[in-house]
């Protein structure tokens, strides 16, 4: 009989296995595909949001005017590569009302843009709605200005009024209520105005001595490689003061968020996959134990073990490929529905991406995992002696050796590192899982021993259940580990989901500031405080700011004696470290830390210090301390307006990077800097536009030196991206949970199927159905109870470890919710198991 004939006959004879394998594998693969497509869609969306910031795919910007050679190099390169670009110059200027109105001038952030601008993003105009790519022509047809709403309030102007900008008069053609672009200098110091680049020369604002940011906004073709183009442009423009940035680098916070999201998705992908592998492994083990006799018969008929292994190998490949085809078709058919669901949910188009590369990757991943996890099972089964045929009872799968799984272990290690793109993430994840399995083994051993000792004092049902667990230790341990891993991963998914969503959205609500105010003088603070209290404004922060310069660390001078022109550093790190040490720093003091800070080392002392007795305490932000090379107990000497001030580092703080709260690298203990010349910084949360206008007006009237930054728009732009990420995390977590649920049910069913013969035997011996059901459900209850407790502990611990060491944040654990979910899951399994036991006993299948 040929290989193909034999294979086909054998394949057909295992119909139940084939179907279940395809079902279980498909679920895992559907999970992977969904994660992959959602990841593609969300990354695309986030990237597009980031593109809005720079209005293009790539921007070149410089705060000095580019020289003719540089301009030539850029424009030649863009022409050679057929890349279109827009010119964009950002500068500050005083603008005033024109046309007979009383003179009133305000600082404005002027943006002169050429006709190609913007490629991405746009502005919302009060009178004519969203103006995106290709809809800016109205700005260029005449001397028109699109001005921000804040500026229209400040100047008291409306549509059609004229503004004097430089030497020209512009007509207000639009009032901007929302704009998607960010300023080249981060937060804009003044409200924005967009103007046509065609009138730049006539304004006479840009000439020798002018300060401006000169930029090119570049549109890439779909198949262009951003990184390659960036590198090529960098070679042409070696001066590092010229920034060449892509969308991701346009916002550090977004870049960091994308990294977090990628790490998270990688872990979830891996978990979804491992879960489905657990299900497959358990089911194949069950299937093989049934097929051992068949293998023995084949062998007694003269078929070689290697031949049979080849047949099994091809069997697995065919099944896996079928599962990939089925799941891909299902996902491709479902994606449009999901797209429309999510588009409705977020109010913006969200396209799920599933490229051919992703499909190939998933196919290889599935094949690799199945072969390496299930191959050893088949190989072990094929080692069973021919004599098994003569055994009365079903044969057991005993000839599998641990080292058969070494390739699988190596595969998982490589896969983890590959998926997470990091040794650190992979290492922590796998290390934690290994520790969990070892601890789980010890707990289970202890648990079964304890149950056995207690067994004599228990009722018949409980005693039987307890004894069964220790009698069938290997089998019970396998099901326990499967359940535990499934439930631990479920806990982990919930806890990580809560922690990461908290990380992304914690700035919501009353904490997120809308306005920053700075340069309030010491002498004005009392009057200012009265105003804030009288007006009942919601101030979120009020902090003193003292300028100083770090002069010594312990007794060592921090300043490098480099003569002008000699300042060469051996490495970039040296240069950056040196700059850090030489720079002036902002110091502050406060009695207690804000919500966005937490001590990671030492302790924070907010009590008043008595200067002159001992050095007073200093709290440093941890990454700043690291860059300075400073640790607890070090003495730092500052020059504060000509007076030397010393302090001892007593604590290191972690600052929540996403809080948007103004924070300080260096905090002194109160009592040291109160007398030093200082200004105050404050932040506000505003409820309405009206309140914002009132704050602007009253502060400008009573404290003309105080500057106000409206950060609400910038924060909103960034938090919109975070919202998307939070949604992605939630959706993918639910998806993985579904896979986990199916696997847990499958594992439980298989475990019961293995025991069905025993159940029927009890039934035939006269044990009542209710007792049989109780014995097996009780055994499961013991296992589920232990799993619930351990999974809560292990899943939460895993979350804390990963949040701490990978995401550099704190875990936000939701014990009561997760515990409720786990109990519900346990009950669900209990009900399913009871039903299955009832079915198996009623089937009365002894052989």
């Amino acid at each position: 009989m040929s290989f193909i004939n034999f294979f086909w006959r054998d394949f057909k004879s295992d119909r139940a296995f084939n179907w279940f394998y395809i079902l279980c594998a498909s679920l895992g693969i559907v999970g992977l595909l969904m994660v992959e497509s959602f990841k593609g869609g969300i990354e695309d969306k986030v990237s597009k949001n980031a593109k809005n910031f720079i209005a293009s795919d790539l921007s070149i910007s410089s705060r000095r005017s580019l020289d003719p050679k540089e301009i030539q190099a850029i424009e030649d390169y863009l022409a050679k590569n057929k890349l279109s670009f827009a010119r964009w110059i950002e500068t500050y200027s005083l603008v005033s009302r024109a046309g007979g109105l009383e003179p009133l001038s305000k600082l404005a952030d002027l943006n002169f843009v050429s006709e190609e601008f913007p490629y991405f993003g746009g502005v919302v105009l009060e009178n004519s709605g969203f103006r995106g790519a290709g809809k800016w022509i109205g700005l260029h047809t005449a001397p028109h200005a699109w001005i921000s709403r804040d500026l229209s309030w400040e100047l008291g102007v409306k549509l059609g009024d004229k503004l004097k900008i430089g030497e020209m008069e512009f007509t207000i053609d639009g009032v901007i209520t929302e704009d998607k672009f960010s300023s080249f200098r981060g937060f804009s110091l003044a409200p924005k105005i967009f103007l046509s680049y065609n009138y730049l020369t006539k304004t006479d604002l840009i000439k020798f001595g002018s300060t401006a940011t000169y930029a090119y906004a570049i549109k890439l073709k779909p198949d262009d490689n951003l990184k390659k183009i960036q590198a090529e442009l960098r070679t042409l423009l070696p001066d590092k003061s010229i920034k060449i940035v892509g969308p991701e680098e346009s916002s550090q916070q977004i870049a960091r968020s994308l990294n977090i999201l990628s790490d998270y998705l990688a872990l979830i992908t891996l978990m979804t996959y491992l879960l489905s592998l657990v299900g497959l492994y358990y089911f194949t083990q069950h299937f093989l134990s049934k097929k051992l006799k068949t293998f023995s018969i084949y062998k007694s008929l003269g078929l070689k073990t290697t031949f049979l292994f080849k047949v099994s190998f091809v069997h697995l490949i065919v099944l896996t490929i079928t599962a990939v085809i089925i799941s891909t078709s299902a996902v491709v058919l479902t994606l449009p529905l999901l797209e429309s669901f999510f588009t409705n949910l977020i109010g913006d188009v969200l396209l799920f991406r599933l490229g051919s590369l992703s499909l190939i990757r998933i196919l290889l991943l599935s094949l690799g995992g199945s072969m390496l996890a299930l191959g050893p099972l088949f190989w072990g089964a094929l080692q069973t002696p021919v004599a098994t045929i003569f055994q009365d009872l079903p044969a057991e799968l005993k000839r599998i050796r641990f080292y058969y799984f070494m390739p699988l272990l190596i595969y998982i290690i490589i896969l983890t590192i590959f998926l997470s793109n990091s040794f650190k993430v992979g290492g922590y994840f796998l290390g934690s899982l290994t520790v969990i399995i070892i601890l789980a083994g010890l707990c289970f051993k202890f648990f079964t021993l304890a149950l056995e000792k207690l067994a004599e004092h228990l009722s018949f049902v409980n005693r039987h259940a307890a004894k069964t667990m220790s009698r069938y230790f290997t089998s019970s341990f396998t099901i326990f580990i499967c359940l535990l891993i499934g439930m631990t991963l479920t806990t982990f998914i919930f806890q990580l989901d809560s922690s990461l969503r908290n990380e992304f959205t914690q700035t919501y609500g009353d904490r997120r500031p809308d306005l920053f105010m700075f340069d309030l003088q010491d002498s004005q603070s009392e009057k200012y405080d009265k105003l804030v209290k009288n007006e009942k404004w919601h101030q979120t922060l009020f902090a003193p700011m003292i300028r100083g310069r770090l002069i010594k660390i312990n007794q060592e001078l921090t300043q490098k004696r480099v003569e002008p022109g000699e300042g060469e550093f051996s490495t970039r790190e040296d240069q950056s470290s040196e700059r850090m040490r030489n720079r002036g720093v902002n110091l502050s003091y406060r009695t207690k830390l804000s919500w966005s800070e937490s001590v990671v080392e030492g302790s924070y002392n907010g009590e008043r210090c008595h200067v002159g007795v001992n050095p007073c305490g200093i709290s440093l932000e941890q990454s700043y301390a690291k860059r300075l090379g400073v640790k607890l107990g070090d003495l730092l000497f500052f020059d504060v307006s000509g007076i030397e001030v010393v302090g001892i580092v007593t604590s290191l703080r972690k600052v929540k990077w996403i809080s948007f709260e103004p924070n300080f690298f260096i905090l002194f203990q109160p009592g040291v800097l109160e007398e030093a010349p200082k200004t105050f910084l404050s932040s506000f949360k505003v409820k309405t536009l009206g309140e914002k206008r009132e704050i602007f007006a009253k502060i400008a009237e009573q404290f003309p030196n105080v500057s106000i930054l409206d950060v609400s728009e910038v924060i909103k732009k960034i938090t919109t991206v975070f919202d998307l990420m939070a949604l992605a995390i939630k959706f993918i977590s639910l998806l993985s949970l579904f896979v986990a649920l199916v696997v847990l049910v499958a594992v439980s069913f298989n475990h019961l199927d293995l025991r069905s013969r025993e159940m029927t035997l009890y039934h035939m011996l006269g044990l009542k159905l209710i007792h049989i059901k109780k014995i097996y459900t009780r055994e499961f209850s013991f296992l589920i109870l232990l799993c619930i407790i351990l999974s809560l502990v292990f899943g939460s611990a895993l979350t804390m470890i990963l949040m701490r060491f990978i995401f550099d944040s704190d875990a936000k654990l939701i014990f009561s919710f997760v515990a409720s979910v786990m109990v519900a899951l346990g009950l669900f399994l209990y009900i399913i198991v009871s039903a299955r036991v009832r079915y198996l006993v009623k089937r009365k299948s002894l052989f």
Binding site: R63, L94, S105, G209, T211, D519, R579, N582, S641, N705
Partner: protein
């Protein structure tokens, strides 16, 4: 008696010749030397240059990055806790860059000058210019403000401290505003002469 008088006169003469002149630079990020080593900032270089010319001077760098003229009076009070003979006033640039009212800036600068005069401290005023992008009227008014203060308060005045430095890429940092170490050297050269004339 004659001998005692001669010794006393000699002592007084010597002490006036040998007394250290304490110079305070009350300024913003330009004086502070933002982005360069404090030793490379122009106040420190002026001290070095004057000492090289055998003047007994001690310079206090009271530059505070980002500060506006509004902070000047309080900061001067702090510095007056120790002996100060000359205040070199370099403030107002941040007021201009933030588009604050010129009349407010003038008021603040004159308060600082009056406080120093009350304490019998000599004030040297350093003028600044606004970049042309701030508009002709504002930049002109800003320039005139310093001249006006100098005239009204009758104090020595240097019209533009960043002469030969502003707008020249090789003497400035990447932000196009703050001088680099080489820029500070050039500023210090002109400033040393100005301070020396007024010692």
């Amino acid at each position: 008696m004659k001998y005692i008088l001669l010794i006393t006169l000699n002592f007084l003469l010597l002490s006036s010749v040998n007394a250290t002149t304490n110079i305070l630079f009350l300024g913003d990020s330009l004086s502070e030397g933002q982005g360069v080593d404090e030793e490379q900032s122009f106040p420190r270089l002026v001290e070095k240059n004057l000492r090289a010319k055998k003047y007994d001077v001690t310079v206090t760098n009271g530059g505070v990055s980002g500060s506006t003229s509004a902070s000047g009076e309080n900061r001067l009070k702090w510095h007056l806790k120790k002996k100060t003979d000359i205040v070199v006033l370099e403030l107002g640039a941040n007021d201009g860059l933030r588009g604050l009212k010129i009349s407010e800036t003038e008021k603040n600068l004159r308060s600082i000058i009056r406080l120093a005069k009350d304490k019998k401290i000599k004030v040297l005023l350093l003028g600044l210019l606004m970049p042309p992008n701030y508009g002709k009227k504002y930049t002109d008014d800003f320039e005139v403000m310093y001249k006006h203060i100098s005239k009204v308060e009758k104090i020595p005045f240097m019209p533009f401290i960043l002469k030969d430095v502003a707008g020249i890429a090789q003497y400035n940092q990447a932000d196009g505003i703050h001088p680099n170490a080489r820029g500070h050297e050039i500023v210090a050269l002109g400033l040393t002469d100005f301070v020396e004339k007024n010692l």
